[in-house]
């Protein structure tokens, strides 16, 4: 695999963009930070599928495309299916000797939102991973169905106010806990699983490069701070992301072959999770006295998860 150097940011900045501007994502949207970095961290040819969601509708506005690679748009549940199908056909044609350029390195990548990944495309993703296709699935996790106006998904965390689980007089918003997609994908047989965030650009690029050079299905959960639905100023996307990783609301770790768990980022000073929550409109109501127990619950869950990850890392399981 032709890897771009990510030793430091200066070297990485000599890579060439393959994701173009004048897409229609909101100002400050993290989706594009993640996608552009994935495309810049290799020189290999890319075949990318993207299902319906903010990324797809904003980057393929007929008659425009923002993609400088082979790119397939497919229905909401089928990012994994399209990438798996293209990969299977590529292998078959290679075997039959009908490829125009059989020696060109190609990588298969699928992008889906959390709504499509955690909920609606879950079964198809699971099938593609089970079949062992050689592809990387990247979930752009903004913890809601952003493109249709901010409905809750099973990636929405407790206490968030969404249009289908709004906070108000009788409710503090989302009641359920976020689904653990990384554990599910690792158990599903993914060769490599990682959680990444764009503010930790190097950590993210290294995970992308590991996934792209791993033989077998890989799953990456990329935190994508959403200025519109998380309700923060567009300039603060990286600031909010820093609060997320440094409060361990989004711990960064990887799981290799379902068994070897490594924590890939340890904040020097761990921040209280309320600092992260206070910076976003979707959690504003949690700071009313009657919702103090939700803040406590949030911190408790973050602490327990961190404890669990550290125990697994130590035990090498």
């Amino acid at each position: 695999m032709a890897i771009t150097s990510v030793k430091n940011l200066k070297e990485f900045s000599t890579s060439n963009d393959r994701f173009e501007g004048a897409h229609l994502l909101c100002p400050g949207c993290a989706h594009s930070m993640i996608v552009r970095e994935l495309m810049n961290c290799t020189d290999d040819n890319l075949v990318i599928s993207t299902n319906t969601g903010c990324l797809e509708v904003s980057t393929a506005v007929y008659p425009y495309t923002s993609w400088d690679t082979s790119w397939i748009h497919i229905g909401f549940e089928n990012a994994a299916t399209a990438a798996a199908g293209a990969e299977a056909m590529y292998k078959a044609r290679k075997r039959k000797g009908t490829l125009k350029n059989p020696d060109a390195p190609v990588k298969f990548v699928a992008f889906g939102g959390d709504g499509s990944t955690y909920d609606i495309g879950f079964q198809w993703l699971s099938g593609a991973v089970e079949r062992g296709h050689n592809f990387t699935y990247i979930c752009l996790d903004n913890e809601n169905y952003a493109n249709t106006g901010g409905q809750r998904s099973s990636a929405t965390p407790i206490g968030a106010s969404t249009t289908t689980a709004p906070a108000g007089r009788v409710s503090y918003g989302e009641k359920r806990n976020k689904k653990d997609m990384l554990a599910i994908m690792a158990a599903n047989g993914a060769s490599y699983v990682a959680q990444v965030a764009p503010n930790k650009w190097k950590n993210m690029a290294q995970a992308f490069q590991k996934a792209l050079s791993t033989d077998g299905p890989c799953y990456i959960n990329a935190m994508s701070a959403c200025t519109t639905e998380w309700k923060f100023d567009p300039k603060d996307t990286i600031n909010i992301s820093d609060l997320a990783t440094d409060s361990l609301a989004f711990p960064l770790y990887e799981i290799i072959n379902g068994t070897e768990l490594n924590i890939t980022y340890r904040p020097k000073n761990v921040l209280p999770v309320k600092d992260y929550l206070a910076a976003q409109g979707r959690f504003k109501h949690l700071f009313k006295p009657e919702n103090a127990h939700v803040l406590e619950e949030w911190q408790k869950r973050v602490d327990e998860k961190w404890e669990y990850l550290q125990r697994r890392e130590e035990a090498r399981v």
């Binding site: 393959r18 173009e20 501007g21 004048a22 100002p27 007929y62 495309t65 400088d68 996307t237 990286i238």
Partner: protein, 148 residues
């Protein structure tokens, strides 16, 4: 190299300015080619060495989204590339590890680049869209004292 910052060669069009095609006139299974030539080695070519087709959004502009714009001050910049990596609109132009400037055809004025700039004073600041870059640089703040 500087022509990467000039928009003349791109034949910029405002998004949506083209003739609208009704939903029932769009070709089924349409394929849009981003380049006019063979794109096999595109990952190895810089924007100025590519032949973008009229279908690439690179040839379009979203400049009208902005009400405020970032202005870049070369004198203070340390070329750390923070603004390059985090710009969500591929609008910080960097070549040979140096920042050349801002692509105002694709910048939406989010202000992320200003937030992530580590210098003191910052090498990027937001100004009203109508102010010229020269006037903005003339009113650049001086070094801020660290709060104790």
């Amino acid at each position: 190299m500087s022509n990467v910052l000039s928009n003349e060669k791109r034949g910029m069009r405002e998004l949506g300015a083209e003739k609208k095609v009704g939903w029932n006139e769009v070709t089924h299974g349409v394929v849009l080619h981003s380049f006019e030539d063979d794109a096999a080695d595109i990952a190895l070519r810089k924007a100025e060495d590519r032949k973008y087709s009229e279908f690439s959004s690179y040839t379009a502009t979203v400049a009208s989204w902005r009400v405020i714009k970032p202005v870049y001050n070369r004198d203070i910049c340390i070329d750390c590339q923070n603004c390059w990596v985090w710009c969500p609109d591929s609008s910080i132009i960097s070549r040979d590890k140096q920042i050349l400037g801002i692509d105002y055809d694709h910048c939406k004025g989010c202000g992320v680049c200003v937030e992530v700039c580590p210098t003191n004073p910052k090498s990027l600041l937001m100004f009203g869209e109508a102010l010229s870059s020269d006037d903005a640089i003339a009113q650049w703040p001086v070094k801020e004292k660290k709060e104790k």
